[in-house]
């Protein structure tokens, strides 16, 4: 008989390679109460976002990231599970209780539930869902839950998972079918993974359309009568009791925006106009994870796949995990992927997702072998975009142009535009500094009040003339 402590040690070690957001706050105060109106609830996602403890690798440990079981029918070449001698599983009761114990200590912010595939994906998912249901309805937990969907899970189980979790993810592991075959032969890229992602998108949109309809109706009738508290919350957790803002997403046809079949406004590129759409169900959306360096993928393959996922699957974000060889696995002799590659990909992903830099432009800065060059990708893009002598005036540049300048982020660009609307003119570098611009990066691309940062060559030329 394996004790709970030992299970935590074994399954925690197996689960630590899964990547997820370290902090999480998903629902807002105006979001509906999905899990009934019992007064005995525990936990909150509204006041979340605090980190509690850091592992010696500097990562924040704020979610209960322990596998449900390490028994697995797959033998992926990179996976830690391959070398694990002891196979153990939690029972749903045990898992739920252990998590709640830790939550009551104020050491955790939420749950990240993942698992190996024991027998059948559906069987394991059922067990995982049972644990989540216990947490939600026995212990009345209202905090953050990230549910890892196993490849090959059935549609009806995904429907259930969408209703219970704040975030769901399906691991892509590789950007293409061929590369996945290199590292995990048994998984079918299209049917096991991509189809599941499409289903999740469909279920989320369908449920949210239904939920919003109920919310709007109740919101409209709110003045006339107070809504009765729900009695049988566990059976009826898809009915809502309070209203949210009826956010209307305006379509700006000049910018090439359009609405899809679900009424979601999209940019010209196909990305969602508003990423955090305030949906009552599965608020934190869908994410994915890829292993870097285990197969023969290039950075361009990964970015191309991510771009597709943002357009077609409405992915909230992607995670990367640099490959580390594990002794005893078929890839033990393969070189570890440098963490810098992971970092550069995260930077480029940020540019794709938030700055909306087209993938075509990113392709132009790639090296011959289609990998990202050394150094900050935004700096490479800026050099390409502005040319050698191109400098912009922060008082005249558009928002999109400002975003192209390294050292100017989303917030500082917005502040500059706001100040301009208030007829405030930026006259010195110190003013930009107080706005939040990082001048050592931005200086080479700016012309402030007619002044530019000189180059070493120009400086030398002036000295020669003098």
């Amino acid at each position: 008989m394996v004790s709970t402590l030992e299970k935590i040690r074994i399954l925690g070690e197996n689960g630590k390679y899964d990547i997820c957001a370290s902090t999480s706050s998903s629902r807002s105060e105006s979001a509906p109460n999905l899990f009934g109106n019992t007064p005995n609830w525990i936990g909150s996602t509204i006041s979340a976002g605090v980190c509690h403890s850091y592992a010696p690798d500097g990562r924040c440990v704020s979610l209960f990231k322990v596998l449900f079981t390490n028994k697995c029918i797959y033998d992926c070449k990179y996976c830690f599970n391959n070398v694990c001698k002891k196979r153990v599983s939690f029972t749903p009761e045990e898992y739920a209780r252990t998590f709640m114990k830790l939550y009551s200590m104020n050491v955790l912010e939420g749950l990240f539930i993942s698992s190996g595939i024991c027998g059948d994906a559906d069987e394991t998912t059922k067990q995982m869902l049972e644990a989540v249901k216990l947490i939600r309805f026995k212990y009345n937990f209202r905090g953050y839950i990230h549910f890892k969907c196993l490849p090959g899970t059935s549609y009806y189980l995904l429907k259930e998972a969408v209703q219970l979790a704040d975030r769901i993810s399906v691991n892509l592991e590789a950007p293409t079918k061929e590369i996945l075959e290199e590292i995990a032969e048994q998984k079918n890229y299209n049917t096991d993974i991509i189809t599941r992602q499409r289903w999740l998108k469909e279920i989320r949109n369908k449920y949210n359309a239904k939920a919003k309809k109920i919310i709007y109706e109740k919101h409209d009738n709110q003045n006339s009568a107070e809504i009765e508290p729900q009695q049988n919350f566990s059976e009826n957790y898809l009915s809502f009791e309070c209203g949210t803002d009826r956010a209307s997403q305006k379509i700006n046809s000049e910018k090439g925006e359009w609405a899809d079949e679900w009424g979601i406004t999209r940019r010209r590129t196909g990305y969602k106009k508003i990423r955090w759409d305030g949906a009552p169900i599965l608020n934190s959306g869908q994410t994915t994870q890829m292993v870097l360096g285990a197969g023969s993928e290039t950075d361009y393959d990964i970015l191309k796949r991510l771009d597709w996922e943002y357009r077609e699957i409405d992915l909230r974000r992607g995670y990367f995990s640099a490959f580390t060889p594990i002794k005893g696995t078929p890839l033990e002799r393969k070189k570890a992927t440098p963490l810098e590659r992971e970092h550069r990909l995260y930077q480029t992903d940020w540019l794709l997702r938030l700055y909306h830099v087209p993938i075509k432009e990113i392709k132009e800065i790639l090296t011959m072998d289609e990998n990202l060059p050394k150094g900050d990708p935004k700096l490479h893009l800026a050099r390409n975009y502005f040319g050698d002598n191109g400098k912009i005036d922060p008082n005249k540049a558009s928002y999109e142009e400002l975003l192209r300048v390294p050292g100017i982020g989303l917030t500082s660009a917005r502040r500059i535009i706001q100040l301009r609307q208030d007829n405030y003119i930026i006259k010195s570098r110190s003013q930009l500094h107080s706005i939040g611009v990082i001048l050592k990066r931005a200086d080479p691309f700016l012309r402030i009040n007619g002044h530019i940062q000189t180059t070493i060559d120009a400086f030398k030329a002036i000295q020669v003339i003098q």
Partner: protein, 220 residues
């Protein structure tokens, strides 16, 4: 439902408004009526600009208040007994007790919350209805007294007991050796933990001949 924080959402980015200053400053342990009067009679533009010494002092005091509150929210370790009493130890020098209790009340609305302030040697409590009380009694005594009047609840019995061992096991299992980054880890340790009474450089005084590095798990 927890009251909204008195600090507005973007106050950290754009500085505190004069109104926020006047609301929050009285919570500082060194705040005096004279100081409040001076703030009241100073224009907002001067107070928001950190150029003057007075404004710097005021902003620093406000940051001290919120920093302390945030640290206590993050690093207070609580215990839950089988009668639904949630208790733990805190270190608050400013008057943040109410805010901190509300944070825990928001997470555990069906529990009686008792927090012992080691700085002021007093116990603060909040019941299920959100009633705030202060006692000059030790934590154990208060927890014992309150627990006597409350029935044993199977719901709490299920998740109560000392869970420190579970957390230690879980915490140590999460470390990825190949990603060890001692410098970053040391950066992430809150200064609060380093500066605690009886500590020097993150190590207890009685072990002062040892450096913190000795206690960080190494792989090499």
């Amino acid at each position: 439902m927890i009251e909204k924080s008195k600090k507005t959402k973007n106050s950290r980015l754009f500085g505190f408004s004069k109104e926020e200053m006047l609301i929050n400053l009285p919570r500082h342990s060194q705040c005096s009526p004279n100081l409040l009067f001076k703030v009241q009679n100073t224009s907002e533009s001067i107070l928001k600009n950190n150029g003057s010494q007075f404004a710097r002092k005021i902003n620093q005091m406000l940051h001290e208040i919120f920093r302390e509150l945030e640290r206590n929210r993050q690093f207070t370790r609580t215990n839950l007994n089988n009668r639904g009493v949630l208790y733990g130890k805190i270190t608050l020098s400013h008057q943040n007790e109410n805010e901190l209790l509300k944070f825990f009340h928001d997470r555990f609305p069906n529990c009686f919350i008792c927090l012992y302030n080691t700085f002021k040697n007093e116990t603060i409590t909040m019941n299920e209805q959100g009633r705030f009380q202060k006692f000059q009694v030790s934590l154990d005594e208060i927890v014992k007294k309150i627990s006597l009047n409350r029935p044993i609840t199977p719901y709490f019995e299920d998740i109560s007991m000392n869970n420190e061992e579970i957390f230690q096991e879980f915490y140590s299992s999460q470390f990825i050796a190949s990603r060890e980054n001692r410098k970053y880890f040391k950066k992430m340790i809150p200064k609060y933990a380093m500066e605690m009474p009886g500590m020097k450089g993150g190590v207890e005084n009685r072990f002062r001949n040892n450096l913190l590095d000795k206690y960080i798990k190494t792989t090499k």
